[in-house]
């Protein structure tokens, strides 16, 4: 193999599995260490820089980081990254003085955003500090998009939502409420320099089965949740069937339990391994005594004299056919009584307001054709992001789309090439503070994942406004932060210093290291101290070593960043170095424009010791 090029920021970035998996590349281990030092403001700002909504995401994120967490390779559960984000948000002080200054003198460019959801708000956050005038058109009387209409208050208290949205609106965003954009052509005539469409995926999918339109007790999940959010709906019948088993279905069934539903069942066509809902949302629903019924495929709404009686289902079993596709076999039929049915089987984009001749191309599913790199549609100056771009994702993706669209909009308004993306860069500094002293806590914490405490069942079902999760207490926080393996503190190797004494190989608790002769990757992976079987994880290969011309090989897969290799290295050929990804933001030259947290602030003088 060629010697690994660690100058490429991607190499070390990939080692930080959580950060790599996060669409917004939030510096997870960085903020976890800040929390450990009780620097909650800094931890919050580090989040705010990349994901813009730490308090909201600390409660609602889809957590792509957690399944990626390295910790699951040595024990059962990942670090509770999302919960720690909430800790940073809960315990922060007044951080508003740290927000970027908004230039009084505007740059003369006006940007229109459609919809006041997370994507548009992120565009505004990134462009306002550059002097842009941003106008957001929102159809409702308040901002937030699906964060407000679709996430129930018992998961996301409105004050948390409004506070973080206001941070952005208070930058001087011109937000127009009750202002649905009804014509793209009209919008294009309004003298904006660029348009950003962040209107989400607001249309719930239909279930066209017999009886669908014979009653008014069948609701579209996301519309129903919106109606509950606005207070238009405040009750539901006792027997409720929720069709679908994604996260919206979880929100629907749990909301039902709070406003009158006593017998609430979630009806799933497939079996549990194929459920779309996040495991933790499923757990929370089951904790609230919602029945999850597997392998029931709906066939008919049973309506008598305009009154919904229930639904008929085929009971099915699933198996893979020869082409590897999942097919079902009907075993039986079943009737489930219900007075209300909520359909939560997916959602899609809807652009009835974009005229066919507006210059924006659509594909056959009437999704806008959007460039994956530039986020621009086929019409110059019209950008898409969030769920509006490629269908339903989640808040953290919307935020990242917002960042990328802002970079494009800024380039577009300056007449620059949209395809020339500002590069990701990195800082890398030694974490060595002295003899046996490192700027991070590298003792392995054996504790298992701390369990989030929930409000008692009887209490929480009383009101839709009672937040279920109580957040981590100090003891939980201090234990959980120590579970983080500090994957951003990289093992950095300087081959020219190595005397091949084997000390690192002998000490490595996870058998990650080998000195051997070089070879082709596939073959080399088989003859390491422990075989490197996870092909998704890189192996590091050094330059030929000075004494024998063999190479140092490190399998990144199971390294727990304990630093023992560096600790036992007599020549400092191995060093632990703090990796700091420098993610570009629109029009910003500073290394960490929004948090102000450079590498000096991230790894300053060893950890402050904290006691509960």
């Amino acid at each position: 193999m060629e010697p690994t090029n660690v100058e490429n920021p991607d190499y070390y970035h990939k080692v930080v599995d959580c950060q790599w998996a996060c669409p917004a590349h939030t510096n997870v281990p960085g903020y976890i260490r800040l929390i450990a030092q009780e620097r909650y403001d800094d931890a919050y700002m580090l989040n705010w820089e990349s994901n813009v909504f730490p308090g909201i995401l600390g409660r609602t994120c889809d957590r792509p980081c957690e399944p990626a967490c390295r910790r699951v390779r040595v024990e059962e559960k990942p670090v509770a990254i999302c919960r720690l984000k909430r800790v940073a948000a809960d315990l922060r002080g007044d951080i508003t003085p740290r927000f970027p200054e908004i230039p009084k003198q505007k740059n003369g460019k006006r940007i229109a955003c459609v919809g006041a959801g997370p994507a548009s708000l992120t565009v505004a956050r990134d462009l306002m500090p550059l002097g842009y005038e941003v106008t957001i058109f929102e159809k409702n009387d308040r901002p937030g998009g699906l964060m407000w209409t679709n996430i129930p208050q018992f998961r996301l208290p409105p004050e948390v939502l409004w506070e973080e949205i206001d941070y952005i609106l208070d930058m001087g965003v011109d937000i127009r409420y009750n202002a649905p954009v009804e014509s793209m052509k009209w919008l294009l005539e309004q003298d904006f320099d660029a348009v950003f469409v962040g209107s989400g995926a607001p249309r719930g999918k239909e279930l066209r089965l017999p009886g669908r339109y014979d009653t008014d007790h069948i609701y579209i999940g996301i519309d129903w949740l919106e109606s509950v959010a606005f207070g238009h709906t405040n009750s539901i019948e006792e027997n409720v069937l929720v069709i679908g088993v994604g996260n919206t279905a979880m929100d629907c069934c749990r909301t039902s339990k709070r406003i009158g539903g006593t017998n609430v069942k979630v009806m799933a066509r497939k079996s549990k391994p194929y459920f779309k809902a996040s495991p933790w949302e499923l757990e929370d629903a089951e904790e609230e005594l919602v029945d999850i019924v597997e392998n029931h495929s709906p066939t008919e709404f049973v309506v008598e004299d305009g009154v919904l009686q229930g639904m008929n289902f085929d009971i099915v079993e699933w198996h893979e056919n020869d082409e590897g596709r999942l097919v079902s076999t009907k075993l039986d039929e079943a009737f489930f009584p219900a007075e209300a049915v909520i359909l939560a089987i997916g959602q899609e984009t809807a652009f009835p307001w974009i005229e066919d001749d507006a210059g924006i191309e659509f594909n056959k599913w009437r999704e806008a054709v959007v460039d994956k790199t530039t986020f621009m549609s086929t019409r110059e100056g019209v950008f898409f992001g969030g769920d509006a771009a490629w269908g339903p994702e989640n808040i953290i993706w919307a935020a990242e789309h917002g960042h990328q669209a802002a970079i494009s909009i800024h380039a577009y308004c300056n007449g620059e090439d949209l395809r020339k993306r500002p590069p990701e860069q990195m800082n890398l500094v030694s974490a060595k503070m002295g003899l046996h002293e490192w700027s991070y806590s590298n003792d392995y914490e054996y504790a298992h994942r701390r369990k989030m405490r929930h409000v008692r069942l009887e209490e929480r079902l009383q009101s839709i406004e009672t937040e279920v999760e109580e957040g981590f207490d100090l003891e939980q926080t201090l234990t959980e932060v120590e579970r983080c393996l500090n994957c951003d503190i990289q093992t950095h190797f300087t081959g020219s210093l190595c005397i091949e004494c084997d000390a690192c190989i002998d000490i490595c608790p996870l058998s990650c290291l080998t000195i051997t002769h070089n070879g082709e990757e596939a073959e080399l992976r088989t003859r390491l101290t422990a075989p490197a079987e996870n092909a998704e994880q890189d192996i590091y290969v050094s330059e030929p070593l000075p004494q024998t011309a063999r190479v140092m090989v490190k399998d990144e897969d199971l390294c727990i960043h304990c630093g023992l290799c560096a600790e036992r290295c007599p020549t400092a050929a191995w060093d632990m170095r703090t990796f700091d990804l420098l993610k570009p933001y629109a029009g910003q030259d500073a290394e960490h424009p929004y948090s102000g947290l450079g590498i000096e602030e991230m790894a300053p003088g060893g950890l402050v010791s904290v006691t509960p």
Binding site: H436, I499, A530, L564, E567, C569, P570
Partner: protein, 357 residues
């Protein structure tokens, strides 16, 4: 020295031996030796060998004296017996232990200071007794604990860290062992576990004293240019005399396949030990014969005079008889003999004495 404890988390593919133990189960406490010390690699080789031989950890005893080397015994097999004795006296304490309990596996770890100066007489007589003991000398040519004075194994002309050459001739443990009847003589290098682990395995199973001289560089006081015991010098002058693989007797039925994987099958010679185990030698040096004491002695003198560091399982006596065998002691360990048998009383003594009248 390291303050961080080695985390008790493991690679999921970590293998188990026939006792159901992993290599990690053969570890000891964290080493407090200097980072990069060759002795820590010897420790790792001992762990590997003991794991491969599936030695029940409670059936082994680790013996040592004084010095950096003698700290090693704390760093492996923490569930085994151990005796950290007086400077240079490890062989005597080991003799006593072995006399009392012949059933344990004895692993002695010493250094060039401990064994070639203050303990030289002890070493020689343990060799002569052919105590059933793996006797490792972690040889770095200096007294590390007292800041790097030359030891008795320092080569003529080897330079100290301050540039002063050694002007006294060395005691070479391999030549010494051969000259006083050692039944197993080997030399390894801490930087080459592929060679060292099979030597240690064969040494542990050798019925008698297995003298293993391991060049184990002192990173702090003897790893500079001009030293003849540095990593770089040893690598440059390293010469493998013969390659050995070891198969314990339980595998004796069909050893050929077992060891071919390690050593290949060309130019090999199997030496069958008394207990049925086999040491397979692969010829590296033409007609090298690891059972010919005089030839091996001559070979070592010749290569060392040429400035080389000859290594390998240099000599083995297939007919080795250990202390208990020679003395004809009972099979049962003495500690386990009923008191009446061990001490048959005044009448029995009188009867015995009658024989000599």
């Amino acid at each position: 020295m390291t303050h961080i404890a080695k985390p008790r988390v493991f690679h999921p593919s970590l293998e188990k031996n026939e006792l159901g133990l992993t290599r990690r189960d053969y570890e000891g406490v964290m080493s407090t030796l200097c980072a990069g010390c060759g002795h820590d690699s010897v420790t790792a080789a001992l762990i590997e060998a003991a794991w491969e031989l599936a030695i029940p950890t409670h059936r082994a005893a680790k013996m040592s004296g004084i010095g950096c080397s003698s700290k090693t015994t704390a760093y492996f097999m923490s569930e085994s017996h151990g005796f950290n004795s007086v400077h240079g006296r490890m062989p005597s304490v080991a003799s006593g232990a072995n006399a009392a309990n012949r059933d344990l596996v004895y692993i002695g770890v010493s250094g060039d200071g401990d064994s070639l100066s203050i303990g030289l007489g002890q070493l020689c007589h343990a060799v002569r007794r052919n105590l059933n003991l793996l006797y490792i000398i972690e040889n770095n040519g200096v007294y590390g604990l007292t800041k790097g004075q030359f030891s008795a194994s320092a080569d003529m002309g080897s330079k100290s860290k301050r540039g002063v050459p050694n002007e006294q001739p060395p005691i070479d443990p391999a030549l010494l062992g051969l000259s006083i009847g050692a039944t197993f003589v080997a030399r390894g290098f801490s930087g080459d576990k592929q060679q060292l682990v099979p030597i240690i395995k064969a040494g542990i199973r050798h019925p008698g004293l297995a003298l293993v001289d391991v060049i184990s560089p002192c990173v702090t006081f003897n790893d500079h240019v001009g030293s003849t015991k540095s990593y770089a010098y040893t690598r440059e002058h390293f010469r493998e005399a013969v390659e050995a693989a070891f198969v314990a007797p339980k595998d004796f039925v069909a050893p050929a396949d077992e060891i071919t994987a390690d050593i290949g099958s060309a130019d090999v010679r199997d030496v069958r030990m008394h207990d049925g185990s086999v040491i397979r030698f692969r010829q590296v040096e033409g007609d090298y014969d690891a059972t010919d004491r005089d030839a091996v002695y001559g070979y070592l003198r010749e290569r060392q005079n040429a400035g080389e560091v000859p290594t390998g399982l240099l000599y083995v006596d297939p007919d080795s008889r250990d202390l208990h065998d020679v003395l004809g002691t009972v099979d049962r360990p003495l500690w386990n003999l009923p008191f009446e048998e061990l001490c048959p009383g005044a009448e029995a003594l009188d009867a015995l004495m009658e024989n000599y009248r």
